[in-house]
Amino acid sequence: MNHEIHHPTTIDPDETLSLDEAHEGGHEHHTPLGTMTWVFVILLFLTALTVWTSNIHEIVIGHSVIEIGPTPHIIMAMVIAVIKATLVAAYFMHLKYDKPMNTVVVGATMFGVLLFIGLTLADLAARGSIDRQELAPIVVGGNKHLDADGNRVDGAGVTQAARENSPDAHHGEDHGDDHSGDDHSGDDHSGDDHASDDHADDH
């Protein structure tokens, strides 16, 4: 490509930088074919690997059988997916060869994603184990959790953790577990018995 430098495609003297031989084009790094082909082969291999691991339900070591549950499967699948995504981003998307600023953008985005998912899960997983919280069941047609006669279903909508940590156990009062119509999104009962009583009284 160097011989093409002699084309006087522009005669603007300010354009000397773009005509500078070392930086003549907008793109300096040439895509290495061998590396990219290897990355492609590895990506296919990892795809096959993740399918294969997803079908392992037990590992036999000697006479002992270790069962593999869904959670190890999902962790394994995510580890492989992250490796694959990193390969695509670093090689196919050229992050490895680019200025670091593009990687910073990706890093900041992933940080946001981790905050988003991590804090959401931490919040939802900890509800009920700190304060008594409601978890309305999710049913087709909305979470009204009424039975066929239109009566509120007893006990519906309270997580196991909420039952175990319920202040009922200490106060000996029957708050009733039939808080209805509450979704689990925003109602903050946070140990406030009055709020619970209001709901218990309305049936």
Binding site: M1, E4, H6, H7, P8, T9, T10, E15, L17, S18, D20, H23, G25, G26, H27, T31, L33, M36, T37, F40, L43, L44, T47, A48, T50, V51, S54, P70, H73, I74, A77, M78, A81, K84, A85, V88, F92, M93, H94, D98, K99, N102, V105, V106, A108, T109, M110, G112, V113, F116, I117, T120, L121, L124, A125, I138, V139, V140, G141, G142
Partner: protein, 231 residues
């Protein structure tokens, strides 16, 4: 700046007309073509960041319901989705990403025909992906009533929350499928520019950005595939 000549007898190139990529001059506000290309790529990456955040909403919903209903999730995934279809589509998308890389390489080597051939393969892969998705998944699912939320009418549910799994399946794969469709259009646009000679060793910025977009579509599928088909 404006004194670009498309026919240049002094160029020592037998007076032939310059291809558009040879005659390309960066915008007046750029120091050089390199800076312009870098800035365009940075802008593309910022856009891709918003794409990742868009899909992270679906991943978040997935994580929440997987946390609440792990057994139902496992059963629904195994029952409603065939890993073979997902596997085939994953391989096809990976191949299409690879051919995009080869198209950029062809631009660097000034091989116009190979840019077109590689982009054509990419588009055929994208088309294959959508045909498999719609023909082997969406249409049978609609016929059987394996539909999201309140539309769920399948006769043999695997658990209480199948409709939630299918809600997340439908919204995430349909949004992804829409991105594949958009990808077909932008790759076709890149093919059109390539055919007109806009891509060469010194200038292929929009080809590179189309490639980046296509790769992010691939990356999102890399996560959707195991999460939906293999758990």
């Amino acid at each position: 700046m404006t004194s670009v000549t498309t026919t240049n007898g002094d160029a020592g190139a037998n007076g032939r007309e310059l291809e558009p990529h040879e005659a390309y001059v960066p915008g007046a506000h750029w120091r050089n073509a390199h800076d312009e290309a870098e800035a365009a790529k940075l802008g593309m990456w910022l856009f891709l960041g918003t794409e990742i955040l868009l899909f992270s909403g679906f991943f978040c919903a997935y994580a929440v319901f997987r946390m609440w209903y792990p057994e139902n999730w496992h059963d629904a995934s195994r029952y409603y989705l065939s890993w073979k279809i997902g596997f085939a589509n994953t391989c096809v998308l990976l191949l299409s990403s690879y051919t995009v890389v080869l198209a950029i390489r062809a631009a660097q080597q000034n091989k116009k025909n190979w840019i077109l051939i590689h982009l054509l393969i990419t588009n055929l892969c994208a088309l294959f992906f959508l045909v498999v998705k719609i023909g082997w998944e969406y249409i049978p699912k609609i016929q059987k009533g394996e539909l999201p939320g309140g539309l769920f009418t399948y006769y043999n549910p695997q658990g209480e929350f199948d409709h939630i799994f299918l809600s997340i399946y439908w919204i995430s794969t349909a949004t992804h499928g829409f991105h594949v469709l958009v990808g077909i259009f932008v790759i076709s646009w890149a093919m059109w520019l390539a055919a007109k000679g806009h891509y060469g060793p010194k200038h292929y910025t929009s080809l590179e950005n189309v490639g980046l977009y296509w790769h992010i579509v691939d990356i999102i599928w890399i996560f959707l595939f195991p999460l939906l088909y293999l758990v």
